[in-house]
C-alpha cells in the first residue's frame, strides 16, 4: 500500500498536531525555559515540516492517492500476510496462560501448514522447535519463559 506523498504529508501534519497538543501539557521544570516539552515540540515541528514538503511534492507528482500493490489483489497473499500478524497476536495472548511450549507448538504448526509445508514435516518441526528452544533459552540462558499449563511438569 503506497500512499501518495500528499496523503502521507497530511497524515504527518495530523501526527505533528497531536504530538504538539500532548507535549503542550507537560509540566515545566521549575525555573527553567527548557523542559519535558522542548524536544517533543521540536520533533513535531520537524514532522510538520516534512509533511509540508511531501504535500508539495505529492501534488506535483500526480500519482494515484493510494497505490495498491499486486499482492493485495491475491487473497492467498493477503491471508499469508494477515496470518503472520495473527500468529504474533496469538503468541502475545497465549504466552502466559498456555505457556511458551504449547503456544509456540500450536502457532508454528498452523503457520507451517498455512505456508504449504507437509503434515509430517510441520508436526515434527512444531514439536521439536519449542522443546529445543525452551531448553536453550529457558534452562541454559535463564530467560523466564512461562511454563503456563505445563507448570506442574518437571523438565530435565
Amino acid at each position: 500500500m503506497r500512499l501518495n506523498d500528499a496523503l502521507l504529508g497530511c497524515i504527518l501534519l495530523l501526527v505533528a498536531a497531536v504530538v504538539a497538543a500532548i507535549a503542550w501539557g507537560f509540566p515545566a521544570v521549575p525555573g527553567q525555559d527548557y523542559g519535558a516539552s522542548t524536544f517533543p515540540l521540536l520533533i513535531a515541528t520537524g514532522l510538520a515540516g516534512c509533511g509540508a514538503v511531501l504535500i508539495g511534492s505529492g501534488l506535483r507528482e500526480r500519482a494515484p492517492i493510494v497505490e495498491w500493490q499486486a499482492w493485495l489483489g491475491e487473497p492467498r497473499r493477503v491471508i499469508d500476510f494477515l496470518s503472520v500478524i495473527t500468529a504474533i497476536i496469538v503468541w502475545i495472548l497465549a504466552w502466559r496462560p498456555l505457556g511458551f511450549i504449547l503456544t509456540t507448538a500450536g502457532v508454528l504448526f498452523a503457520l507451517l501448514r498455512r505456508f504449504g509445508v507437509s503434515w509430517k514435516t510441520s508436526l515434527a518441526i512444531a514439536i521439536a522447535t519449542p522443546l529445543i528452544m525452551n531448553y536453550i533459552f529457558g534452562r541454559l540462558l535463564l530467560v523466564p519463559l512461562p511454563a503456563g499449563l505445563l507448570a506442574p511438569i518437571r523438565w530435565w
Binding site: 521544570v29 521549575p30 525555573g31 511450549i101 504449547l102 507448538a105 514439536i127 522443546l131 535463564l142 523466564p144 511454563a147 499449563l149 505445563l150 507448570a151 506442574p152 511438569i153 518437571r154 523438565w155 530435565w156
Partner: protein
C-alpha cells in the same frame, strides 16, 4: 482447588503426548516448596550494584533451596516497571523480587499507586548511606567549608548523581533543608545514575555528587575524588576516615539506598517461612559478606515484619523530604 487439580491432570496427559515428560512434581500447594525454578525480578539494569547484589543473593539462595534462581531484569521508568512486575506476579512463591529504596519514592511523585505495602516483606539485605563527594582539587577542605560556600552563593553550585527526584537528589535536598537552607540552594542536574554523575564531576560539569561511597570508590582510590562526609549516624566500615554529617556539621541526617527481597502480597505463609531462614543463611554466609565488603556495599539485616516496618518508615521519611522539596504530587 479441586477444579485446578483436575485441570492439571488433564494437561499432564497432554504433556505425555508431547513426549517430553519425566515426572510430576509435588502438588501445587506450598508443601515441598520450592519444586521448580524461582524467578527473581530486578527493577534495574544489568551492570549496576542492584543487579550484582541480586545475582549474588540468587546464586547463594540457589544453594540453600536446591532450585535454580533465575535473575530477571525488568528495567525502565525509574524502577516503576520492575516494581510493578513483582507486585503483579502470581503470589505462589515462584516469583520474588529485589525491591529498592525507590519503592518509597515513586508513588509520592504520582507515577504509580504502588507502595511497599503491596508486597510481602522477606528480608532487607543491604543499606548504603549517601555521602558528599567533591573533586580532589575542589576549593573546600571539608564539609563546613562547602556549607559556607553554599550559604554565600545559594543556587550557584550544582550536584548530580541520579535523575530528577532520585534518591541522591533527595539526600542533598533534605540535608540542605536540615541546615535551614533552601532545598534548591544546590541546583540539581539530572543524570542516569551515579557513574555518569561522577564522570560529570570529573569533567568539571558539576560541583558535587551526593552518591553512596561504594559508587565513588574507584575514583576515591584513584585520588580523584574526596568524600567529605557520610549522611549517616555512624561511619562507613570500608571508609572509617570519612566523618559523619553529625560529627562535622552537627546535623543528624540518615538517608541512603537499601535493597531487600520481597514477594508479591499474599504468598502462602509456608513460602515465607521457607524463604526467610534461607535468606538469613545467605546473609550470614561468608560468601555474601565477602562479596559485599569487596564491592564496598554495606550489609543490614531485617526480616519479615521488621523489614516491613523499615520500608514503611523509609517511605514516610522520604515522603516528608519530597513534600519539602516540592517533588511530591
Amino acid at each position: 482447588m479441586l477444579g485446578t487439580h483436575i485441570h492439571r491432570r488433564a494437561l499432564l496427559a497432554a504433556g505425555i503426548a508431547l513426549g517430553a515428560v519425566t515426572t510430576l512434581a509435588g502438588a501445587a500447594t506450598a508443601q515441598g516448596y520450592p519444586d521448580r525454578p524461582i524467578t527473581l525480578i530486578v527493577p534495574w539494569g544489568a551492570g549496576g550494584g542492584t543487579d550484582s547484589t541480586a545475582r549474588i543473593v540468587g546464586s547463594l539462595l540457589e544453594q540453600e533451596l536446591g532450585q535454580p534462581i533465575n535473575v530477571v531484569n525488568r528495567t525502565g521508568g525509574s524502577g516503576v516497571v520492575g516494581h510493578s512486575a513483582i507486585a503483579e506476579a502470581d503470589p505462589d512463591g515462584y516469583t520474588i523480587g529485589l525491591a529498592t529504596v525507590e519503592i518509597g519514592m515513586m508513588h509520592w511523585q504520582g507515577l504509580t499507586e504502588l507502595t511497599s505495602a503491596d508486597y510481602t516483606p522477606l528480608a532487607l539485605m543491604n543499606f548504603d548511606p549517601a555521602s558528599v563527594n567533591v573533586r580532589e582539587d575542589a576549593d573546600w577542605a571539608d564539609l563546613p567549608a562547602l556549607i559556607e560556600a553554599i550559604k554565600a552563593n545559594p543556587g550557584t553550585l550544582t550536584a548530580s548523581g541520579t535523575g530528577q527526584g532520585g534518591i541522591w537528589h533527595l539526600a542533598i535536598a533534605g540535608f540542605l533543608s536540615k541546615l535551614g537552607l533552601e532545598p534548591g540552594a544546590v541546583r540539581w542536574v539530572p543524570s542516569e545514575g551515579a557513574a555518569p554523575g561522577l564522570q560529570d564531576l570529573m569533567a568539571g560539569g558539576v560541583d558535587l555528587v551526593p552518591c553512596s561511597i561504594p559508587e565513588a570508590r574507584a575514583l576515591i582510590d584513584a585520588g580523584r575524588v574526596r568524600s567529605l562526609a557520610v549522611m549517616s549516624s555512624k561511619p562507613n566500615e570500608a571508609f572509617p576516615d570519612v566523618p559523619t554529617t553529625q560529627d562535622v556539621a552537627g546535623v543528624s541526617w540518615d538517608i541512603g539506598a537499601w535493597r531487600g527481597i520481597v514477594a508479591p502480597k499474599g504468598v502462602p505463609d509456608e513460602v515465607a517461612a521457607r524463604l526467610i531462614p534461607a535468606l538469613e543463611k545467605v546473609y550470614n554466609s561468608s560468601e555474601y559478606a565477602d562479596f559485599m565488603s569487596k564491592q564496598g556495599f554495606g550489609r543490614q539485616w531485617a526480616s519479615g515484619e521488621a523489614f516491613g516496618t523499615f520500608m514503611a518508615e523509609s517511605n514516610e521519611s522520604l515522603g516528608a523530604v519530597m513534600k519539602e522539596v516540592g517533588l511530591a504530587k
